[in-house]
Symmetry: C2
Subunit: 217 residues, 2 copies
DNA sequence: CGCGGATACTGCATTGTGCATCATGACGCT
DNA sequence: AGCGTCATGATGCACAATGCAGTATCCGCG
């Protein structure tokens, strides 16, 4: 192994591009980047605060950002700004195809394994999920009603906001339905449970791709 | 969380419980666990195959699973089975509150930063997202129409299947809407763009929690 | 008999997380 | 003037998780 001067042996991850995107808006300190990531990116790209701090340094190593040391009194504070190469990399990434979206939900795992415990726990899991999605919808609603840091970005910004809101709305609607479904499971009417199961499968099975092209595999 | 006596200093992660849940259904080899994780858990708890292999060993170390060495000819194959302590741990976990659900979407990040590139890339990102969610809905539909490995688990299984299907349906619907929204951005009618932005914000802002408490941000 | 694909893993380098820790600045209170 | 508290602005460490390459065996097919 040898040292490569110029371009070090570092690979850009999705985290790199996410932080790079923030830097494209304006220069930030790592602390601000972490806050901003928490407020905006977290909705569709959750990363630990720690990762943001580490990423800023990696971006500098990649030549995609520059750091400037400033100070507030005795206290050091490093501001990161995007470079020309950084903007180029960001544009190239924006033009490239993306990995498919993924859902991660501890509650969903528990619901999947619900037959290993009593329905009271299933019910509690569904209820908590309802609260959590309601809370998310609340926070999104507050954001939408409030002021924006970058007014000129609003027109595209609302697209991703709505995506997130729609997903959480779907989860909230599901939770409402699921609460009823658990009632049916609890009621002990075998025929009703059977019917509910068949109907749910039918709903899912009846959601093929958009255009009515018959699948052939 | 409680520690069983004699158990080494290993902490259970969500991955531990996810794999433990699979073991609660029947004994599996790590390879089968990896396949099954890919087929079912992946929908709401995506983990690399590697993690499943490592997790099985950790479960043994925790005393929650036992491994039995068998062989197919010259070839070794280890079967993992849940222990009594494992079932206890699983039940305790199923009764505990869960972390909120999270979405991760590279496409959403790109849409969030769409103003850094041309609308043609925004359009492509939306279209790819549409294809990916359609594909997911297709696969779910096929699963729902097919046979189940554990027929007696179907009644609860359909709950989590529907959750996943609903989320992907929401994403597919969003993509349809977004395609139209991008058209509006492209058309160059400033007033229409303005209207669309305001209306979208209004939709998001009008989704507070279930109970009709008036928001007072 | 040779070939390819499914089965059944392991090793390594690197990224990402969770938690603890530390230090200063800003602001208000008494 | 002194004190508390919260926001600011990070760093270190251990461990979890990923991605990818590599290894080797079994089985069916021509």
């Amino acid at each position: 192994m040898q040292y490569c001067q110029g371009v070090p042996n570092i690979k850009a991850t999705q985290t790199s591009y996410a932080v790079l995107g923030l830097l494209a808006l304006k220069p930030w300190t790592t602390y601000e980047l972490a806050r901003q990531s928490e407020r905006s990116l977290r909705w569709f790209f959750p990363r630990a605060e720690r990762a943001v701090y580490l990423e800023a340094k990696r971006l500098v190593a990649l030549g995609w950002a520059e750091s400037t040391k400033t100070a507030t009194g005795r206290r050091a504070s490093t501001v990161y700004a995007i470079t020309r190469a950084g903007r180029r990399a960001l544009r190239a990434w924006l033009a490239a195809p993306s990995a498919p979206p993924q859902l991660e939900s501890e509650g969903a795992i528990k619901i999947f394994f619900a037959d290993q415990a009593g329905t009271e726990h299933l019910r509690a899991t569904v209820e908590l999920l309802a609260e959590q999605t309601d809370d998310a919808l609340d926070r999104l609603a507050t954001m939408a009603a409030g002021a924006f840091t970058f007014p000129d970005r609003m027109r595209t910004n609302v697209l991703s906001m709505r995506l997130v809101s729609d997903v959480h709305q779907a989860l909230a609607d599901w939770a409402d339905w699921a609460a009823g479904a658990v009632d049916v499971l609890d009621a002990g009417d075998e025929a009703a449970v059977e019917r509910q199961t068949r109907e749910t499968l039918a709903v899912i099975a009846g959601r093929p791709a958009r255009a009515g092209t018959p699948s052939n595999h």
